[in-house]
């Protein structure tokens, strides 16, 4: 094999894994980093986004718009759930996690009851391209670009907009923000909605590549958990490099030993990381920076 096709293949594998990790963990990481809540219904928000995207796309909407529909629907559902359930549990973070698991059970099974065990999806768009002897899905490359774009967008949102500044202030010093006249409840509501929307976006982006089943959210769960745990509380400092490192591990193991070992490798990595640096990468990097 020539040098270029070989290195392209490696890049493709890595990019694929990186995109999956970043896109699937973003929503979880925002809610966890900002509110300290692990949203166990994360997978179901992804499922929600995927279902809406697939059905609107099949109804004739262009894919990007369909993905937007999926994202917004998930965000809306997230905000409603925050209002009705999560809001009452902020002072009991562990209980709020349990509650999201209850929501997850309800959502999965309700979709199963209402829409049946599978739904037809949409095909993967954009076709494929040849590099060397192998062909690669262009959509997968687009997903990699989306992941990079997503990180950039979130960075801008949290560091360059008014909402971002207020949100970060609220998270760091809730009493102080309240004293300065910030409606912290609204900030939490919006943050939860944002996290749910990002999950919906993940579902929308991956909808063309997956089978639509009510339990499809579970496919994302392990990867997104692992990335958030390795990354630690700060999504920018921690989650992005965590995704990069884990993507290398996963891509390498998947290429050599198959999907399963990719996943086992992630799990071993996470256990080693928390043993070596409690608080995750972000705590480690922050300590090293000082």
């Amino acid at each position: 094999m020539e040098f270029f096709p070989a290195s392209f293949s490696i890049f493709y594998q890595f990019g694929n894994a990186f995109a999956f990790l970043v896109i699937s963990c973003a929503g979880l990481a925002v809610i966890f980093g900002m509110m300290g809540i692990i949203n166990l219904a994360h997978g179901e928000f992804i499922m929600c986004g995927a279902y809406v995207t697939a059905s609107t796309a099949r109804a004739g909407l262009p894919l990007p718009l369909a993905i937007l529909c999926g994202t917004l629907t998930a965000a809306l559902v997230g905000m409603v759930l925050e209002r009705t359930i999560i809001r009452h549990l902020y002072h009991r973070p562990l209980d709020s996690i349990i509650a999201t698991w209850g929501i997850s059970l309800i959502a999965t099974q309700a979709v199963l009851i209402l829409l049946g065990p599978t739904m037809s999806g949409t095909g993967t768009p954009l076709g494929s391209m040849e590099v060397g002897e192998r062909s690669y899905s262009i959509y997968r490359l687009a997903l990699f670009a989306s992941a990079v774009g997503l990180l950039g967008g979130l960075y801008l949102l949290f560091y360059r907009t008014r909402f971002g500044v207020i949100a970060r202030a609220t998270i760091q010093r809730p009493e102080m923000a309240r004293a300065l006249g910030v409606d912290t409840r609204r900030v939490y509501g919006l943050t939860f909605g944002l996290g749910a929307g990002l999950a919906g976006l993940a579902g929308g982006l991956y909808a063309p590549t997956m089978t639509m089943v009510p339990t499809m959210g579970a496919t994302f769960i392990v990867e997104s958990f692992v990335t958030v745990v390795v990354g630690g509380a700060d999504i920018f400092v921690g989650a992005a490099p965590a995704a990069a490192i884990l993507a290398v591990i996963k891509a390498a193991l998947t290429a050599w030993y198959g999907q399963l070992f990719g996943q086992i490798g992630l799990l071993v990595a996470v256990i080693v990381v928390i043993r070596v640096m409690p608080g995750g990468l972000s705590a480690f990097i922050k300590r090293w920076q000082r």
Partner: protein, 365 residues
């Protein structure tokens, strides 16, 4: 107010051995004390013992199935309720031990009580695996939600692993793992008996064996939780820093409690496999992992009695709903979980027992 009651240990002869352990059936870490409580317990056990006389074999087998799960619930009660480490992945130990029971019994058969040896080994495996995970978590100073995430990830990865073992190369001795379809064909628990072994298929005999195990496990946990070990677990839950600064190696205690929880989940898993001669990867999946949380949360995690009763009640309710389809039952479980967390965070059964206890006291006065 009552006259002050001083600890009179200095006057009482020091309790030793069996007597000391029996005295720990009652204590600060468990609800229920005094003759009335124990009379109710004895009546409940007697009712359970005489139950098969009034019910048909199918219903009795079903009740035995309820018992199978209680060990995992009580184990989670210890880990979560008493030690304060919220494990989302007890099903990992359940599934591991369930598969282990299958693999061992398929390979060594059921003669000479070998199934009991398999049960023991499977439980030990569940416990050792939990100790290992516990070592990495607690010695890695993992706390709070991260314990939940790591344990949940472990069980989901195990599910994925087992689901892809469909090929013929995935066999351990004579036992094929069979991937997604699950493993079957293992013998049930078998009691060696002169003139023909007694196979404990789902039915009255198995019911009695399991009832005995539930009672023993419940009483044993009461003793353990009221012993110094249980006191330290509660201390760690309430204030880990203080507990360490009283001279306790809290990581060791957490790891041991987690190992115990894993062994109990393993007991449920091995018994489940023996009960139905069947186990699948989905027993370690996301939905399966949620159910122990529902039982323990709804029952009440801070007390082993509430956990046990809650578990039995919720499973019975779940089963009666399954007539309409398991997806409906699961929706109800999810709703029950959300409701419990919002309205009675201490658990429905726990709150109910407490209210009744208070009412009872008021009536007596």
């Amino acid at each position: 107010m009552n006259p002050i009651e001083l600890p009179d240990a200095s006057k009482a002869p020091a309790r030793r051995g069996l007597k000391l352990w029996l005295s720990r059936l009652e204590g600060p870490q468990t609800m229920g004390r005094g003759p009335v409580f124990w009379a109710v317990v004895v009546l409940a056990v007697l009712a359970a013992v005489s139950y098969p006389a009034f019910a048909n074999d199918y219903v009795v087998g079903n009740a035995a199935y309820f018992f199978v799960w209680t060990f995992m619930a009580m184990g989670l009660g210890v880990v979560w309720g008493y030690c304060g480490a919220l494990s989302f992945g007890q099903t990992a130990f359940f599934g591991l031990a369930g598969y282990a029971y299958g693999v061992i019994t398929i390979n060594i058969g059921s003669a000479f009580g070998a199934t009991w040896l398999a049960l023991l080994l499977a439980v030990a495996l569940g416990g050792v695996f939990a100790l290992l995970i516990g070592y990495f978590m607690f010695y890695g100073r993992i706390k709070g939600v991260f314990v939940g995430i790591v344990t949940l990830s472990v069980t989901l990865v195990l599910e994925t692993f087992m689901a892809q073992t469909a090929g013929p190369q995935w066999r351990i001795g004579d036992a094929r793992l069979n991937g997604f379809n699950g493993m079957s064909g293992m013998p049930p628990l078998t009691v060696p008996w002169p003139g023909g072994d007694i196979m404990l298929y789902s039915g009255t005999a198995l019911y009695y064996v399991l009832l005995g195990m539930v009672v023993l496990c419940y009483l044993g946990l009461r003793v353990l939780l009221n012993a110094p070990f249980g006191n330290v677990l509660v201390a760690i839950r309430e204030n880990p820093e203080r507990a360490e600064m009283l001279g306790y190696d809290i990581r060791l205690y957490q790891m041991l409690a987690f190992g115990l929880g894993g062994a109990l989940a393993g007991l449920s898993g091995a018994l489940y496999t023996a009960w139905g001669q069947y186990i699948t990867p989905s027993s370690m999946g996301l939905t399966a992992a949620a159910l122990p949380i529902v039982w323990v949360a709804v029952g009440g995690r801070r007390d082993i009695t509430a956990t046990l009763l809650g578990c039995l009640l919720v499973i019975a309710g779940f089963q009666s709903l399954t007539i309409y389809g398991s997806q409906y039952a699961l929706v109800v479980m999810g709703a029950l979980l959300v409701f419990t967390v919002l309205v009675t965070p201490d658990g429905l059964v726990f709150t109910a027992i407490n209210r009744m206890g208070r009412l009872f006291k008021r009536v007596r006065r």
